[in-house]
Amino acid sequence: MRKYFSKAKIQYLFYTMTHPMDGFYEIRHRERGSVPIAVISVILFSFVFSMNKMLASFIVNNTDPRTVDSLDNLSGVLLLYLLFCVGNWSITCLMNGEGRLKDIATMLGYSLVPMTISYVIATIVSQVIAQNEEGFYSIIITIGTIWTVLLALSGIMVIHNYSLAKTLLTVILTVVAMLIIVFIVMMLSDLVNQVYGFIYSIYTELLFRN
């Protein structure tokens, strides 16, 4: 446990936030990162996201509280996270990326921290704003999002030892890879379903033969 959750490792999460280049380099080469902390960060993000939908003030929040399902959000966010990690890993494997799956997962989880924090701050700020002041609310979220995107970009760059252009290309290809994965998974599940149906019909056929 100590290996994953030492105080230094948790502090390193915030160090990476402000020093992405150095931070991600050490995650790749000096084992300063931790996958469990990254996954927890992702879970925390999905939790904060749901909370924002539930608790942001009436002025800025046009979500029907009955439609917010935190478990739904959690599974969605985790699935996307997994998809992106696998997609990025498969692309960078082909493109001479140096990063391991472990590094990609850590990097992405660590990158989400600014967004998580911005959602918390925005939700609190939303409680004290009136109409025409929604700008404050949205700018907080925008800053957090941009920060996260920059972190993730620099993370991919550093971990795989890419140039910026190659990084952007990788990101686009990653999205394509994600789509292909989704397609293959859907096709596979459909095929498995058909095989199951086939076997089940043989089973019923045998049942009725008697």
Partner: protein
């Protein structure tokens, strides 16, 4: 067995009590043969108490003038008498305000010595100046008579204009007249808009033309298709108007069938521009939640008639599901009631709607009768409260809105009404509570801003003092810890950090 007997006794006693009490002619409000509901902010269906309940139905037989045949229009004269266009019988029937007695049956008129008859009179209207306008559809003319003695005044026929095609046949269906005796007429197959006639019946132009919206996709598709294909495609023609009414200020309310289900009624100013307000859901098109259009009962509402009632309130009649939608002048849906069926109080083919004092009268062409709906306490409260708001006396409406809330806890309009009243009286906390329940973001924000200012005015001093105190405390504590650390380090570093 004994228990059973007791139950039986109770049942029998209740039944006999029911029989002995003189039967009430009005159905109890819990047994209306239709659902009454409304849409909330989230466009979900919310069932409400019945705003109107069926009172009775009036057929030609009951009135003693023989069965109506395919009656198509209703009109209430300024004196309160009701005119029925009994289209299939080629006559107009005038009934008194109580709908109990026939005043006269008009089936012919005297045109300078010759007696002329109607042929399928489709629409009827009485002007403020006491003239009777009859859309005599198969004779292709509008007949104008003096209401008092039925003396002939004029025909409106054969409109000629550059904008009309040469072979255009004028078949008037619905007609209405404003205070300046301008005649607004919906004619069959006339997609350009409502036809307006002035003075001695000259056609002066079209009114309230509905613009056709072609999507970019449709444009592209048309561009790609060949000429032969294009000829086979549907024409993009505007929808026809279906019903027409006029308010006392001369604004024309005209209903139409909107394929998108967004706007089924237009409020046209004297220049013919649409000035309707669409309210919270940006919709004045009837039902928001609709079933699949492929079924008979699904698809957007088919609004066939509109009636302007009073104080900005108007009702739309939907023939597809037999519902009556009532909106206020801001376009908020007030209530929905009515339904199709064969029970008393339901419709089969509703064609026209009119307001008679506080009652609503609907003409059903297939049932050949008028159905009269009486307002309930719930409907009355809403009507009154909306009327007060229309007049600008919102504070007076609060009591009514509170009573509405007792009958219908989630009524958003009532919550907003109460919230606004609290807002004007300066009770911001209560205003916020009710305005939030009513989902009025705009007014909630106003209330919240005031509340925030008040709060700051009261407590800003304390807050700032508190912040300063906390900062000072932190600084002091830090200094203290540093000092201690220094001491420890001097002593030999008991706590090596």
């Amino acid at each position: 067995m004994k228990k059973m007997n007791l139950w039986r006794k109770i049942v029998i006693a209740t039944l006999s009590a029911c029989i002995m009490i003189p039967s009430v002619s009005v159905a109890a409000e819990s047994t209306v043969p239709y659902d009454s509901y409304n849409y909330d902010y989230w466009e979900d269906i919310v069932f409400t108490p019945a705003p109107y309940i069926p009172e009775r139905s009036v057929s030609g037989t009951i009135l003693g003038v023989g069965t109506f045949v395919n009656p198509q229009d209703l009109c209430v004269s300024p004196e309160g008498n009701v005119y029925i266009a009994d289209t299939g019988n080629n006559r107009i029937v005038e009934v008194d305000n109580s709908l109990g007695n026939v005043i006269r049956v008009i089936d012919s008129f005297d045109n300078n010595g010759t007696t002329e008859k109607f042929s399928s009179p489709y629409g009827v209207c009485v002007s403020e100046n006491g003239q009777l306008y009859i859309a005599d559809s198969e004779n292709h003319r509008v007949v104008v008579l003096e209401e008092s003695d039925l003396s002939f005044i004029k025909f409106i026929e054969n409109p000629t204009s550059d904008v009309l095609e040469d072979n255009f046949v004028f078949t008037p269906l619905k007609v209405t007249v404003d205070y300046a005796d301008r005649v607004y007429c919906i004619a069959k197959g006339m997609f350009e808009g409502i036809m307006v006639f002035e003075g001695e019946g000259q056609f002066t132009g079209f009114f309230g033309t509905i613009q056709v919206n072609i999507t970019a996709w449709e444009k592209l598709w048309r561009r790609l298709s060949t000429k032969a294909q294009r000829a086979k495609q549907l024409l993009f023609i505007p929808t026809e108007f279906t019903g027409i009414d006029i308010d006392s200020d001369g604004f024309v309310y005209a209903s139409n069938i909107d394929s998108t289900g967004v706007q089924a009624v237009r409020r046209l100013n004297p220049k013919g521009e649409d000035v309707i307000k669409k309210g919270e859901n940006a919709n004045v098109g009837g039902d928001l939640v609709i079933a699949n259009a492929s079924s008979n009962y699904g698809g957007i509402s088919t609004i066939v008639d509109v009636v302007y009632r009073d104080k900005g309130i108007y009702s739309l009649l939907d023939s597809k599901r037999g519902r009556i939608f009532t909106y206020d002048h801001e376009g908020n849906l007030l209530y929905i009631f009515g339904g199709l069926g064969v029970q008393a109080g339901t419709f089969t083919t509703p064609v026209a709607i009119e307001a008679l004092d506080d009652k609503i009268v609907v003409l059903d062409a297939n049932r050949r009768e008028m159905l009269v709906f009486r307002e309930t306490q719930y409907g009355n409260l809403i009507n009154e409260a909306v009327g007060l708001r229309y007049d600008g006396d919102e504070t007076l409406a609060v009591d009514m809105w509170k009573q509405v809330l007792m009958l219908d806890e989630n009524n958003e309009l009532a919550n907003v009404g109460i919230g606004k009243a609290y807002l004007t009286s300066g009770d911001n906390v209560n205003a916020m509570k009710y305005l939030k329940l009513g989902m009025s973001r705009q007014y909630y924000s106003v209330a919240y801003r005031r509340y925030r200012n008040e709060f700051l005015k009261k407590y800003l001093g304390f807050i700032l003092t508190g912040v300063v105190a906390v900062i000072v405390a932190i600084v002091l504590v830090r200094k203290h810890i540093k000092k201690k650390k220094g001491i420890y380090e001097e002593e030999g570093g008991a706590f090596d950090v």
